[in-house]
């Protein structure tokens, strides 16, 4: 089947999406059976509008990371097509900062690889660190930073790519609840300030509802889009808000149903 991957910004036509995923499937070679294929993603169609915040929700192993890697261009789909507005930035669950560089130099490397001229890099890196409230941490080494600070530097580095689309793969899953809560507030603020589009992967229902304008639920084995919710609660929200809790309860019920189906074989 034909597959195409477009980086729309390379041609001059205006695009109306930050990411467009059309009928995408992905199979991996199945372990054990020679020649066998394991279908991980099945016919996924999903648009992320410019400036939209979408969370992709699903049980562990349902193919969320696989889909994000496809959108990031780190892997090719088995079928279907993927288009993005320019090259997206990607943030991982592990901070993925380079330990041989300081916090500031990690951000500067992204600027440098983007082609920012040397005299402006330092200033721009300081500005981005300030955006994630890490002014004064320019010279800190990665191992001297706390888990939350590392993820904020990683966010600053991702923002340094100046992409119109930010992909985030469970970036706060390894953090404690209070730090995660603070980072939710920061991410919402930065999303509002920069107008970047975000595709955010999580298995945490509350987190999905806390952050997103739209929640997309993936089923497991194979991953299909099970249902979508538009979240009307105005930002900034709190994870403890009753409206967040109510919608979370509804989505959790749906997710449980999806998981339960797999027990009935």
């Amino acid at each position: 089947m034909a597959t195409t991957v477009t980086r729309a910004a390379e041609d001059a036509t205006a695009v109306t999406y930050a990411a467009r995923v059309e009928h995408v499937s992905k199979s991996f070679p199945a372990p054990g059976t020679p020649g066998g294929q394991q279908l991980v993603l099945d016919d996924i169609t999903l648009d992320v509008a410019p400036g939209e915040f979408v969370t992709l929700l699903g049980a562990s192993g349902c193919g969320k990371s696989t889909l994000l890697n496809l959108v990031a261009g780190l892997d090719l789909p088995s079928a279907g097509s993927i288009g993005t507005d320019g090259r997206p930035a990607l943030m991982f669950q592990e901070h993925a900062l380079f330990p041989w560089l300081t916090a500031g130099k990690n951000v500067e490397l992204a600027l440098r690889l983007r082609g920012v001229a040397k005299p402006e890099r330092r200033q721009e890196a300081e500005r981005l660190l300030e955006l994630v409230r890490l002014q004064g941490s320019y010279r800190k080494r990665v191992h001297e930073l706390s888990g939350g600070m590392r993820q904020r530097v990683a966010l600053a580095r991702a923002l340094a790519q100046d992409s119109r689309l930010l992909l985030m793969d469970e970036p706060f899953a390894a953090l404690d609840a209070i730090t995660r809560d603070v980072l939710h507030d920061e991410l919402t603020r930065i999303w509002q300030e920069t107008g970047v589009s975000v595709l955010f992967v999580t298995h945490n229902v509350r987190e999905a509802v806390r952050l997103a304008g739209r929640v997309v639920l993936l089923s497991s084995r194979p991953g299909r889009i099970a249902r979508e919710w538009t979240v009307g609660i105005p930002q900034p929200r709190r994870i403890e808000d009753s409206a967040v809790a109510e919608l979370s309860a509804e989505i959790t019920e749906e997710l449980r149903g999806e998981i339960r189906r797999h027990g009935r074989h």
Binding site: A72, L74, R87, P88, A89, L90, F92, E94, A96, F98, P99, W100, L101, L109, A110, L113, R114, R133, R141, V142, H143, E144, L145, S146, G147, G148, M149, R157, Q161, I178, T179, D181, V182, D185, E186, R189, G232, I233, P234, Q235, P236, R237, R238, E240, D241, S242, A243
Partner: protein
């Protein structure tokens, strides 16, 4: 309880959009950062002296005392076991004649130049072996094998091919050191967490830029270990070459000094040469490689203070 930013709120309104006080948020964040930040203070100089310098100095002193006692006890005649003072006498004579530094410099300059050549050859070779599957399949086992071949075995063929000259010394050094440097770099590259490579790719570091910005710095600890071993092999190979292939045209290095001592039946000169070879090897490691390695590891938070 005081009103905290993380305390649960029971606000029923769907427009619970009371913006969290930005100032309070920044304060909370600063508190979290301060609580959870790791500090790695450098050990004070005095402590380093007591814990790192004193023990080896003590060990050397002990060896000297035992040596002197053995001489006094007369366990062996002087032509087999010279007294420490006799060896010290050799040092003084060589120093006063001005030849001591010549011996050392002849060997060290050869060793370092050979090592630099091995570095220039071994590094690109390592990158090739690590990154190109076909090259790895072809050369990988060969390089591992060469690493365990004592480089003294290369001296006879090198003499036949190149004659008794400096090129032959360099050839032996290269054959000894290049496999270590190459294998060190390959091991360093193989141990790079795949996450770094993926992160580099999403940032746009591919091809040569990926090699320069991501692969080489990420592989640096393994590469340095290879360099360190490469230097040790350079030095050993050179000494083997100098001892076996001495010729008046080559100038007197430490290996020739040792061989001359044997020919002159001067055990104190033999001892002098052995000590100098040992000291140079230790000094280069202590002054160049160990600080470099510690600096790299400390910068990455990989140095555990014991």
């Amino acid at each position: 309880m005081a009103d905290t930013d993380t305390g649960a709120r029971t606000d029923a309104s769907p427009a619970a959009g009371v913006p969290r006080d930005a100032h309070a948020l920044a304060g909370l964040e600063a508190g979290l950062d301060a609580l959870d930040t790791v500090r790695t203070p450098r050990t004070p100089l005095r402590e380093t002296l007591v814990r790192k310098v004193l023990p080896p100095v003590g060990a050397v002193a002990l060896v000297l005392v035992v040596w002197q006692l053995l001489v006094w006890a007369g366990v062996a005649p002087a032509y087999k076991l010279p007294a420490p003072s006799a060896v010290w006498g050799e040092v003084r004579v060589a120093w006063l004649e001005g030849t001591l530094l010549d011996y050392i410099w002849t060997s060290v300059s050869r060793g370092l130049l050979g090592f630099l050549m091995a570095l220039a050859l071994g590094t690109p070779l390592g990158l090739l072996v690590a990154r190109v599957r076909f090259v790895r399949a072809a050369l990988g086992p060969l390089l591992s094998g060469l690493q365990s071949l004592p480089s003294v075995a290369w001296v006879p063929p090198a003499v036949i091919w190149l004659g008794l000259n400096d090129s032959m010394m360099y050839a032996v050094i290269l054959l000894g050191a290049v496999p270590s440097i190459t294998n060190g770099l390959v091991a360093g590259i193989d141990q790079i967490p795949p996450l770094f490579l993926r992160a580099g790719r999403t940032l746009g570091a591919t091809g040569a830029r990926g090699a320069w910005h991501i692969v080489m710095p990420a592989a640096l600890p393994g590469y340095l270990a290879g360099l360190k071993q490469g230097w040790a092999f350079s030095w050993r190979s050179l000494m083997a070459a100098e001892i076996i292939a001495s010729s008046p045209d080559l100038g007197i290095g430490l290996g020739q000094l040792l061989e001359n001592g044997r020919n002159n039946s001067s055990m104190s000169q033999v001892f002098l040469a052995i000590f100098l070879i040992l000291i140079v090897g230790i000094a280069i490691d202590l002054l160049a490689f160990s600080p470099l390695e510690r600096w790299v590891l400390r910068g990455r938070g990989l140095l555990v203070t014991r």
